[in-house]
Amino acid sequence: MSLRALALLYLTLLLLAPLAIVFGRTFEHGIGTAWAFVTTPAAVSAFSLSVLIAVIAVPLNTIFGVGCAMVLARSRAPRAGKGILDALIDLPFVVSPVIAGLALILVYGQGGWFGSAFLNNGIRIIYAVPGMVIATVFVSLPFVVREVTPVLREVGDEQEQAAATLGASSWQTFWRVTLPTIRWGVAYGVVLTTARALGEIGAILVVSSNVAGSTLTLPLLLYQRDDQVGGQVTTSVYALATELAVISVAVLLLMTLFGSRREKSG
């Protein structure tokens, strides 16, 4: 067997075959049935919550990510300091999402370090939407930084210096020179962040109260449904999975598009 056949077979067995089956199971009772399952009130509210969380978390991490990448690639801070920052940013990739959830409970939950202060002022973070947003920000934090930093290092700062000598303020330089150069890197990072934000379960599961209609995101709803039927996966679960898979294929297309743009410009 040739290497090509071996590689393709591996990918088919691992990636494609399982997905194909989920699609098949979803539509075995017709498209109408599948559609009915993804438009139930619980599914619709889970979808809007997923989107809401992503809409808050992604811009936050984008701004932070670009700022942090600027510090890592451009600032004249001591090397050691930047090295530590660099290592700290990777923490969310290394720490299990469940641990992230636990960590947030210990700080912002009832009896946590800051939790009581927030609760006394009537702000509920853990087992409510704010906690889920923080959890999402936590797990998707490194993507933009990781995508933008290498681009910034690669292009160097000559153009920025040129802009500065021509009298541009640092803000103007950033908007007119730096940002257009790194835009595809940023876009790629944003897509990765969005994918993670929409698909996250571990961290959110821990800090959500798991009430359908208020604090369930799409992946959580899927997890809970599957939990209830105990191994016998039903069409409703498959329909939700297909909905998520369709979203991720759209994300995948964007990734491919931005990824190739980024390579061309970088």
Partner: protein, 241 residues
């Protein structure tokens, strides 16, 4: 920096403080029971296997994508990123659909250690492939051709010429895959069944209110993952020089 502290650093510090809150002895005693140790051994063992298999298959996939050409190659190339795009629960579910109770191919892996391995291979697939690919593209083919013209077999050329150049990329990809596997939860939550995986044990501990035990196991897991990442950085720095 404030943002990083509020979201990441302070909460993680809280976990460490919680784990050590009643002294080193109680940290040890909450880990030193059969269930927890068992979970740790299985998790680390599975992650090692996944890193090893992933390194071999990831390199193979990258090789085929760079050096081979066939119709549909670009589609396959974007497919590699699928595990990053697909929510991990869906990944777990798809594997249940294929290898679960109603398996159309008659393979019943779900809820066994085998299923855990397959799920981890799925979610970590892109790491090695994506880190090897760019290095392979940059690699000068002339050296390989020189080796071949001097009478080296394909295997010898690969082992003596290509592999040394790829080694740093393979190792860093495999280390990331390992770190990810140690902490993976989403894809395993549905498929692991009674197999005790560390992250699932932590989740169960949190749900049952034993935060101290959860924090203790968390600290051990973080230590393992950080050790791997640190070793990786040292290794990378050595190669750079």
């Amino acid at each position: 920096m404030l943002y990083l502290s509020v979201i990441v650093l302070i909460p993680l510090a809280a976990v460490v403080v919680k784990a050590f809150s009643s002294g080193l002895g109680s940290l040890w005693s909450s880990i030193d029971n059969t269930l927890t140790l068992h979970a740790l051994v299985i998790t680390v063992g599975a992650s090692l296997i996944v890193a090893a298999v992933g390194a071999v298959m990831g390199t193979l996939v990258a090789w085929v994508l760079v050096r081979d050409s066939f119709p549909g190659k670009r589609v396959v190339n974007s497919l590699i990123d699928l595990p990053f795009a697909l929510p991990t629960v869906v990944a777990g579910l798809t594997l249940i659909a294929l290898y679960g109770p109603n398996s159309p191919v008659g393979i019943h892996l779900a809820y066994t250690r085998g299923a855990v391995l397959v799920a981890l291979l799925f979610v970590t697939l892109p790491f090695v492939a994506r880190s090897v690919q760019p290095v392979l593209i940059e690699l000068d083919r002339e050296v390989e051709e020189a080796a071949a013209s001097l009478g080296a077999s394909n295997m010898t050329t690969f082992r003596r010429i290509v592999l040394p150049a790829l080694r740093p990329a393979i190792i860093s990809g495999a280390a990331l895959a390992f770190a990810r596997s140690v902490g993976e939860f989403g894809s395993l939550a549905l498929i692991a069944g009674k197999v005790q995986i560390a992250s699932i044990v932590i989740y169960a501990d949190i749900e049952s209110g034993s935060e101290q035990a959860a924090a203790a196991l968390s600290v051990v897991l973080m230590a393992i993952a950080l050790a791997v990442l640190f070793a990786l950085r040292r290794f990378g720095a050595r190669v750079d020089r």
